[in-house]
Amino acid sequence: MYDYVLSSIIFLPLAGFLVILFLPKNNFNLIRWVASIFSFVPMVISFYLIYDYFIVYSGSADMVYIEGPFKWISVINAEYFLGADGISVPLLALTGLLSFLSIIASFNIVNRVKEYFAFFLLLETGMMGVFCALDFFLFYVFWEVMLVPMYFLIGVWGGPRKEYAAIKFFLYTLFGSIFMLVAILVLYFTSEPHTLNMLTLIQTAPGLGHSLQLFCFAFLFVAFAIKVPVWPFHTWLPDAHVEAPTAVSVILAGVLLKMGTYGMLRISWPMFPEATRFFAIPVALLGLIAIIYGALVSMAQKDLKKLVAYSSVSHMGYCMLALGAWGSVTALAGCMFQMVSHGLITGALFLMVGVLYDRAHTREIAAFGGLGVKLPIFTGLMVLFSMASLGLPGMSGFISEFMVFIGSFSSFKLITALAVLGVVLTAGYMLRMVQRIFLGEFNMAKWGGLAEMNAREILMVAPLAALTVAIGVYPSPLSNVMKATLENLVNLVAR
């Protein structure tokens, strides 16, 4: 019965995309609900998948739910080849959840509703595909497929500087993709017989010469690093996040950034063990820079959304630090945890910012103050997510950061010790933000009209809050899901 489970996750949103194209343009509710249904079903399947994986496969490092390889473009040996393991299954579930919540969060879009939801579903297809593809060409196709709807989602429904942000995002990512394409070509032509099958390449690519490995690794790294984004490739992120509509920011932060780190875990690390070992310290250093730098820059932000955006840079730095510590399962598990928890927390923060923006029509931190008086639920949730973001125990952020620290300390003592500083800096900017928005004197004249969150809004962040706390309190199921895969990964890198 699992024969086509991954395909169904990938292509159900695409089907929804097609269905929406045939719906009447002015029937907003119909479009919204169709989009919700077509993202709800993949979400349910992805949840079932992670459950099933946990029950049945969590002890093995093999690819499961494999589809193919089916011949696709036989001239270049491109195949339709899908599969999932302990790395991709949690990310699939995360994607499913965030996509559904984002679509729910987009119900207040009134401009070009049909196109919006159509693009959104197309985007979901691309994201799901990236996490399932086991063929390089397929991977690349999904990677690019996701770009286009994202470009339009930012460029059409975005904020005042949307064109700039959209073009920047698109060009930047495309720039990276080209490096990836070069690396793919190198891999294709150096393999004998020529193949694009990732699983085969993981077996054969380490046989490449030292310099060629470094070359491919560096090229793929640029592509993934732009997506993560690693300092100094991060400047597209604040612009894109700030200008994008709320739901798109959620997807950007929650899923798209993960694709970079996922690519490293899935492709770069196992394929080029020698290069990984060679570049371990630079990667960790980049992580450290991102942590400290992102946090400091975030502290200087006046725009709430930009603050959250820069906090993403900082938080993804933990992933890079962990990736540098390739030899530790704990570090890699920490990286995975950080990916998931950052997706949940930052996604939620963006949703909350969106909720506030919908009401106040500004995101200027200095414009607010004392909202805690008027909006207790909103404040409570926002404080909760801020605390989760700054790594408070009991929430997923703490688990991931702690695991990253433990894992990478064995490889890099000084770098890790310095990275711990990030915890304080994060606390610094998060608390400043909370203080300036929610605490202090309440300006009744200006914000007296703000309404408390409505049921839809509470419902869309509640699952995120629940999962954040759940992972924070009881992380071991999630860690069991990825355990075997990561152990195998460490062995692959140690080759």
Partner: protein, 688 residues
């Protein structure tokens, strides 16, 4: 009961969950739930203590894995020994008292339910911290305690100072936690476990020693520095007094700030293994204690005086524990460990009492400034009596509980002359500032008549806890009477029982010191024989230093906060202009390059194509005149051509000659056609 001790923290957690999710709107019910469950925890703690007494302190451990596939095992568990049992009791007693007290103090607060929820969450965190059996778990609760402290300090968040203080507290303690994390990381890496007992076994067996042990100890002590407000991170605690007074009593006097001391006591084996680490601990404790006491001498805010007093007393405990570690590392036992933990317990009671008393006073006069008080003893009998009891206790007057614990601390400095002298000096200062506070607040003439008129004794819900705590302040110390052979020291101990026995000389000295301190305060502030102002003028520099808290806030602001905020702005500028500027520059250059290409494309490449087109058009424009529509012209051309052909055949002159000739003819004819004025009315006039 003992094996279910892990339930103790869960009672208040249950209260928190119930209040937040279900009874937030029913205020009375919320507070009832909170108090009921904390009392339940108290009762359970009593049972645990009794059970522990029955086992003579033999520890109980229970644990469950948290994440188990890591390079180390992270687990959640409980470790109950004598220290834990005592702490559980102290925390639950103080917490219960404070929550009951809050019923009166917080009445009519708009966020009543939330207040009790936070208190419950705090109690949960604190109990979890106490009960933890490993460093990972203690760190978790350590942070949660920090969170609740943040929430409660900033409870009246409309006040800027309150929200600032909350933020300051959280961040400052978190700076200490950085060290704590690094310490934990060191332990993970070099020991491979975070479980107390496993680590301590490694230490006692000598597997872990030397520099790494010292580093681990010092880094872990950083956590204690932050949480227990030790120098140089003590600055947050006085500010934390912006929170509601019961909160100050519970968190910032009796329990949370004691967590640092508890941590040091709990990890005593680590410190005891390294004389360096222990010495650092002791010195930090001494500096803090002296610094805080010196600042407390001149403050005017009743709660701040108590806060500095707290810092000072915590320094005492830390110092005692540190000295114990030093002694132990050098191979001989001292009373330090018992002194520290004993003082931790007694201090909790009398400091909570002091704060609650101060709260009662504030509740009555609605001000924190002792210059606006005076003569309150006439209006607030219970408060005055309990406050004096607590003050006597903290000053170390026989036979109150503070006397016994402070005596032990003084005793533990035996063998360290510098420490002993400074300790006695601090004891003197403590007695002085406490009674300065008492005399200024409760005796003399009211300095603010209006406030005095409105002052009244607090309700029963507030005086009740005061009485209970006063009782404890008097008698709690008696469990550690030096003459008792099965007292506190034989219950809570490190490694082996060390029964010091009474030091009569020290007792006399310390009592004399305390009495002289009280006497000085009496002469200055009660009898007013010596003018306080004159003294202040006399020792102007010292007075200013003390009054301005040694300028720590200013120094930190100048050397840490401003540079960081400045660097954030610089980095933000850097990010927006240099990093992003680079990206935009590349984009701009690309666009310019594209413009150049476009220009080239438009004018050169396309220009060539278009030029050809224009050429063709021009040519055809000329040639089109051949198509004149004039039949005669066509005829001319035909005939001319025919003749040309004939001539060519006939004369056999070169083909090109004729071609050229023909072209000349054609051009001539064109010329004719083109020069011809178009005198044609072209529209056909079709009729009919």
């Amino acid at each position: 009961m003992l094996e279910y001790a892990y339930l103790i923290p869960l009672y208040p957690l249950l209260a928190f969950v119930l209040i937040i999710f279900f009874t937030r709107w029913k205020e009375r019910l919320s507070s009832a739930i909170a108090i009921l469950l904390v009392l339940l925890a108290f009762v359970h703690s009593v049972f645990v203590l009794v059970a522990m007494l029955g086992r003579h302190g033999a520890p109980v451990e229970l644990s469950t894995p948290f994440i188990d596939h890591l390079i180390i095992k992270l687990e959640l568990g409980m470790w109950i020994d004598a220290l834990t049992a005592v702490m559980l009791l102290v925390v639950t007693i103080v917490s219960s008292c404070v929550q009951i007290y809050s019923l009166g103090y917080m009445h009519n607060d708009p966020r009543w339910s939330r207040y009790f929820a936070y208190l419950s969450l705090f109690t949960f965190s604190m109990l979890g911290l106490v009960i933890a059996n490993n460093f990972f778990m203690i760190f978790i609760f350590w942070e949660l305690v920090g969170l609740t402290s943040y929430l409660l300090i900033g409870f009246w968040f409309e006040k800027k100072t309150a929200s600032d203080a909350g933020k300051k507290a959280f961040i400052t303690t978190r700076i200490g936690d950085l060290g704590f994390i690094v310490g934990i990381l060191i332990l993970t890496f070099y020991v491979g476990t975070l479980n107390y007992q496993e680590i301590f076994e490694k230490v006692t067996s000598g597997t872990l020693s030397g520099g790494i042990l010292a580093a681990a100890g010092i880094f872990i002590f950083c956590g204690a520095i932050g949480k227990s407000a030790q120098f140089p991170l003590h600055v947050w605690l006085p500010d934390a007094m912006e929170g509601p007074t019961p909160v100050s009593a519970l968190i910032h006097a009796a329990t949370m700030v004691a967590a640092g001391v508890y941590l040091v006591a709990r990890a005593m084996t680590l410190f005891a293994g390294s004389a360096t680490a222990s010495m650092v601990v002791a010195v930090i404790g001494l500096i803090t204690s002296f610094l805080a006491a010196s600042i407390a001498l001149t403050q005017n805010d009743i709660k701040r005086i108590l806060a500095y007093s707290t810092v000072s007393q915590l320094g005492y405990m830390i110092m005692a524990l540190g000295l114990y570690g030093v002694d132990y590392a050098h191979g001989h036992h001292s009373a330090g460990y018992v002194a520290g933990t004993f003082h931790l317990m007694t201090h909790a009671f009398f400091k909570a009492l002091l704060f609650l008393g101060a709260g009662s006073v504030i509740h009555a006069v609605h001000t924190n400034d002792i210059n606006d008080m005076g003569g309150l003893s006439r209006k607030m009998k219970t408060t005055t009596i309990t406050f004096f009891i607590a003050s006597l206790s903290i000053a170390g007057i026989f036979p109150l509980s503070g006397f016994w614990s402070k005596d032990e601390i003084v005793a533990s400095t035996a063998g360290h002359p510098v420490f002993m002298v400074v300790t006695l000096l601090i004891a003197f200062m403590t007695a002085f500032y406490m009674f300065r506070l008492c005399f200024l607040t409760f005796t003399g003439e009211p300095r603010d008549k209006e406030r005095f008129e409105h002052a009244h004794e607090s309700p029963k819900s507030m005086t009740g806890p005061l009485t209970v705590l006063a009782f404890l302040s008097v008698f709690a110390g008696w469990v550690g009477l030096p003459w008792l052979h099965r007292g506190f020291s034989s219950f809570v101990y490190h490694d082996q029982v060390h029964h010091a026995g009474p030091h009569y000389i020290l007792m006399i000295i310390s009592t004399m010191v305390a009495v002289s301190g009280i006497g000085l305060a009496y002469t200055i502030y009660y009898k007013k024989v010596i003018s306080a102002d004159a003294l202040a003028r006399r020792f102007k520099v010292l007075y200013k230093l003390s009054f301005n808290k040694w300028y720590f806030d200013e120094i930190y602001d100048a050397i840490i906060i401003r540079p960081i905020l400045g660097s954030t702005r610089v980095l933000w500028w850097f990010d927006a202009n240099v990093v992003d500027g680079l990206v935009n520059l590349i984009g701009w250059l690309t666009v310019k390059w594209a413009d150049l290409k476009m220009w080239f494309d438009r004018y050169i490449i396309d220009g060539t194509v278009n030029g050809l087109g224009y050429l063709c058009m021009a040519g055809s424009w000329m040639v089109k005149f051949i198509q004149s529509g004039s039949v005669q012209f066509y005829t001319l051309v035909v005939i001319g051509g025919a003749i040309g052909a004939v001539l060519y055949r006939v004369t056999e002159v070169g083909f090109y000659f004729y071609l050229i000739g023909l072209i000349i003819v054609a051009l001539l004819s064109l010329l004719v056609k083109m020069t011809r004025p178009d005198r044609v009315g072209t529209e056909p006039n079709i009729e009919g």
